[in-house]
Subunit: 207 residues, 2 copies
DNA sequence: ATAATTGTTTGCAGTGAGTGCAAGTTTGTC
DNA sequence: GACAAACTTGCACTCACTGCAAACAATTAT
């Protein structure tokens, strides 16, 4: 295990790539719920059992999440300039990922695919939740808020929510680019979504 | 189908209740991932096949979501006073559900159970997404925002996010009641989570 | 080179979720 | 009581996913 770019390592990367490629292609072709692991494995020329050595769930292969994104995000969160506000950091993180996804030229196709399939959305949100936990931990440390404050967690999760809503809305209003929607969402989160908010706590019930 | 409270209807309610009770009990006992549908069905004294006539997924039975909640929420959204701000309406909706859940005396146990199990969280979020779509549709209509605005969707989804974050934080800081956390979250969403937000759009990249 | 070691792939057997179908049973209607 | 509609059930099936042990390939030591 001294050699970094050994044959073994390269072959694994190849196999992984073959699997994710086949998975995405077939998912786009036949719809994500009509692809079987068997087909994906066959297209990548490995056994079904090997597929599961690489991915714990079928959806993982289709999502093909790049672990570097979370790494980069955490790194940026930790090393952000002291005078950069929390949501601003999240904005940069989101746009970094966005830029990387767009370089694939598959942002919107993959986005639609994900939003249209419950099971994909599932896996994405699951990993998002995990990501958000880690980001929240990093942000909490960085912010020095009182323990038990909801603010760090809310900022991280709300940013994630803004992404999801932006992608969703982009489906029905494709004329607005995702970046625009995203920026509008972040602005609202930053300055407030509802200046007139004010429930009357005294009242016991209603109609 | 003229009789509302016929034998048939009552039996169905009974079976449904037996299934959800058994499902929740067993999930709390053995952990949600170690309960099989077979066990639940057996405990409720019906066949496995019948279980799937009532719930599309195992998790649905454990969550035992009350369809009335969504109905009530949509109703309130549609009939809210004209001068009630959007997030305020969401606040009332959330608190209505909360009050109902608490009357079971199972809010926090069920909440913890859900937050601790990926597969439960999955189903909850999936149904939440669907709920949010419907609520967003209702709110969009009510608000008269320009088409393509992200605000209605963001308000609804961010409110949902606040609930999730509140439950999650309550796990690690049980001394703060969920209502407190929730109110803090809504306040932040209303007035803004980050007054200093301001990414420099001109800049191309960053280290 | 060859042998020993370690990591990877694969087949196989098994559990459990979820579905479609057809037959049987129960409930409501006339 | 006869008839139709709704509900339950068993059966056979597909598919996701796991553990285990044998086969295989890459790496390292000799």
């Amino acid at each position: 295990m001294q050699i970094e770019g050994g044959l073994r390592e390269r072959k694994k990367q190849q196999t992984r790539a073959a699997l994710t490629d086949a998975a995405l292609r077939l998912a786009l072709e036949k719809g994500p719920d009509h692809v079987t692991v068997e087909e994906i494995a066959e297209a990548a020329d490995v056994s079904v059992r090997t597929f599961f050595n690489y991915f714990p769930h079928k959806e993982h292969a289709i999502l093909a999440r790049n672990p570097e994104h979370l790494e980069a995000a955490l790194e940026r969160m930790r090393t952000a300039p002291a005078d950069e506000s929390p949501l601003t950091t999240m904005w940069f993180i989101v746009h970094d990922v966005l830029r990387d996804l767009e370089s694939d030229g598959q942002l919107s196709r993959r986005g639609e695919l994900i939003m249209s399939s419950p099971s994909l959305l599932y896996q994405l949100m699951l990993s998002s939740i995990d990501d958000e936990r880690q980001l929240t931990a990093a942000l909490t440390e960085r912010m020095g808020e009182p323990a038990g404050s909801i603010r760090p967690g809310l900022i991280v999760s709300a940013a994630g929510t803004a992404c999801r809503v932006a992608v969703e809305l982009h489906k029905t209003a494709p004329d607005r680019p995702i970046r625009d929607l995203l920026d509008e969402g972040f602005q609202l989160l930053a300055r407030g979504t509802d200046p007139d908010f004010g429930p009357v706590h005294q009242q016991k019930g209603h109609s």
